[in-house]
């Protein structure tokens, strides 16, 4: 891990509202978390124990990485549709096998935009916002946690 680049990244986000950064390479994983959400609050971050703020761990193997959930690497924006369930995300209707929506489709409040599958049960993600899909924030089959942004609208 190039510590100079890491330092430059920290400097770049200092003063912004970013609170959680995760960087993952083949040989290392770095998670950085601010103690408080307030931008520029260096003092409060400095007084918290170092351990929970900077955790440098080595991945045991690529297989280990693939089984891990890397939640919330995307910071939720106001037009994001977030997951209200925990499980594996799918854009496809399990009955019809057709995609609920594609890129640039327009979604209305109340539309089912995906399902989250866990323990053999499919639970729907229902849009609470309207807009045009600009990007899918998670891959097909990707594990998602509660509150994780899945689809971005404009």
């Amino acid at each position: 891990m190039d510590t100079k680049k890491l330092g430059a990244l920290l400097k770049a986000v200092d003063g912004s509202g970013v609170r959680h950064i995760l960087i993952e390479t083949k040989s290392a994983k770095v998670r950085i978390l601010r103690a408080t959400g307030a931008p520029g609050k260096r003092d409060s971050a400095a007084t918290v124990m170092a351990a929970p703020h900077l955790a440098l761990t080595k991945s045991a193997s690529p297989a280990a990485t693939s089984s891990m959930v890397r939640p919330a690497t995307t910071v939720a924006e106001k037009n994001d549709i977030v997951s209200t369930h925990v499980g594996f995300f799918s854009r496809f209707n399990p009955k019809t096998k057709k995609q609920y929506f594609k890129l640039r489709d327009v979604v209305k409040v109340g539309d089912v935009v995906g399902v989250v599958r866990a323990m053999h049960i499919d639970q729907e993600i229902v849009a609470e916002k309207s807009g045009k899909i600009v990007t899918f924030l998670v891959e097909e089959g990707q594990p998602v946690e509660y509150g994780q942004p899945t689809i971005r609208l404009e």
């Binding site: 998670r31 891990m68 959930v69 919330a72 369930h85 866990a118 323990m119 049960i121 994780q148």
Partner: protein, 446 residues
């Protein structure tokens, strides 16, 4: 072999389990609600999953969400901690059905020991003393016969009652005859059911429990007893081991009874048998069994050096307990004070908020199990525990002195805490004499 444990809990116990897993080389997954975004446990685990909104029903009590978190992370075992789902048979069942090792006893054992009547029946079979009592009494005559068998004082209880309501203490036959009709009528008015039953009334009881550890190969051991008599509304505040109240004869009997009871159930894992001891220190009675790790497991660890959480995991993995009863050495004395964000000067009202100053006591024989840190905001959605302060000493005097020193050193600013209360108790005569019962707080002036 267990490779990855999901901890279905939060706060200090989640950290406790994570630490044990790390020492065993086992990966960890934590779950958290959105109210626990800044909780330490999610940052200590290898992976973490947000499972829901703040209310426990949406998060820490939500079995489908927790099982889903286990599925997406590939966890092959779940540790339930204490509270929440730790004694929910349905949770153990869900783990079984999904091929996940539940770090605890079987669903059947949880069911049997969770049902008061069934637990008493099973303990009686094992020759464990239970509080003498009756079924619903037909009339005064039957009540008299029962009271002569049980011996006064007795207490009449409404079968549909609870929360201390519908109870009448009777010191003799005249009082019993007078109170029987009153108790029946009160029960009918309050609960719509006039049925009353009788139990022996234990005056000024002492709450003494025994730590049990069993494995899947039939071995059951005790890890000593704990005196947990200082309580408020049935919530323990201070625990110590060994109990300063009972003598060695009763200590031996109560420990052996607990092992017998656990053997009768085929118990494995960590569990605690709870007893009431009468004020003479001569008679003891089984009240219930907790089929999980307890908050106060720490003091048993301090006097034996046995890591109970690691043993829970190893036992769940099918390992045999690698020592026998005779190998356990009980050394010294240990005390735990539960430090809560509560105002003891104001009826112990919860006082969540942001911690603006935090320094934990340190030194030989001092242990702090806490999930809190400087700038941490204690959420109002869950219990008010900040942490547990545990001291060990070569004897009780040293453990108390060390606790006094540690409490004075423990600095928590920004929220009110129970530290001042504990400091006062450490100077209270009945505590220092080791002669206090569950009514301690009623006469304690703070």
């Amino acid at each position: 072999m267990i490779r990855k444990v999901l901890i279905a809990n939060r706060g200090e116990i989640a950290l406790r389990v994570i630490r044990a897993c790390k020492e065993l080389g086992i990966k960890t997954v934590s779950v958290h609600s959105i109210a626990d975004e800044n909780s330490l446990h999610r940052h200590f685990s290898d992976e973490d999953v947000c499972i829901g909104e703040a209310p426990s029903s949406d998060s820490y009590l939500n079995i489908p969400r927790i099982m889903a978190a286990a599925e997406i992370t590939g966890a092959d075992a779940i540790h339930p901690g204490y509270g929440f789902l730790s004694e929910r048979a349905k949770f153990a069942e869900a783990c079984d059905e999904n091929g996940i090792t539940f770090i605890g006893p079987t669903k059947d054992i949880i069911d049997k020991m969770g049902d008061k009547s069934s637990a008493r029946e099973n303990m009686a079979k094992a020759g464990v003393p239970i509080i003498p009592g009756t079924e619903i009494l037909k009339d005064k005559d039957e009540a008299l016969v029962a009271a002569r068998r049980i011996k006064f004082p007795v207490i009449l209880k409404a079968t549909a009652g609870g929360g201390g309501r519908g109870m009448r203490i009777c010191e003799n036959e005249a009082e019993l005859l007078k109170n029987f009709d009153i108790a029946s009528n009160e029960a009918l008015v309050a609960f719509g059911n006039s049925g009353v039953y009788m139990e022996k009334y234990i005056r000024n009881p002492h709450h003494i429990e025994v730590q049990i550890l069993g494995d899947k190969h039939g071995k059951v051991l005790h890890i000593g007893e704990r005196d947990c008599s200082i309580q408020r509304k049935h919530q323990k505040l201070i625990e110590e081991t060994p109990s300063p109240f009972i003598d060695e004869r009763i200590r031996k009997k109560i420990r052996e009874a607990a092992v017998r009871g656990a053997e009768e159930m085929g118990y494995f894992g960590a569990g605690t048998m709870e007893f009431l001891v009468d004020d003479n220190g001569e008679e003891f009675y089984f009240i219930e069994m907790n089929t999980r790790i307890q908050v106060e497991h720490t003091i048993s660890e301090m006097i034996t050096g046995i890591d109970l959480v690691k043993m829970q995991i190893r036992v769940a993995d099918g390992e045999a307990i690698p020592f026998d009863q005779k190998d356990i050495v009980f050394r010294g004395h240990s005390i735990e004070c539960r430090i809560n964000a509560e105002d003891p000067a104001n009826g112990f009202i919860p006082n969540p908020g942001r911690i603006t100053g935090y320094h934990i006591p340190q030194g030989l024989g001092v242990r702090v199990d806490s999930h809190c840190y400087m700038d941490y905001s204690i959420p109002s959605n869950y219990d008010s525990m900040i942490g547990k302060l545990i001291t060990w000493g070569n004897d009780r005097t040293e453990a108390i002195e060390r606790m006094r020193r540690s409490l004075a050193e423990f600095t928590i600013e920004g929220v009110k805490t129970t530290i001042p209360f504990h400091l006062r108790v450490m100077d209270e005569k009945s505590f220092l004499d080791g002669n206090y019962h569950t009514g301690f707080l009623e006469s304690f002036k703070f």
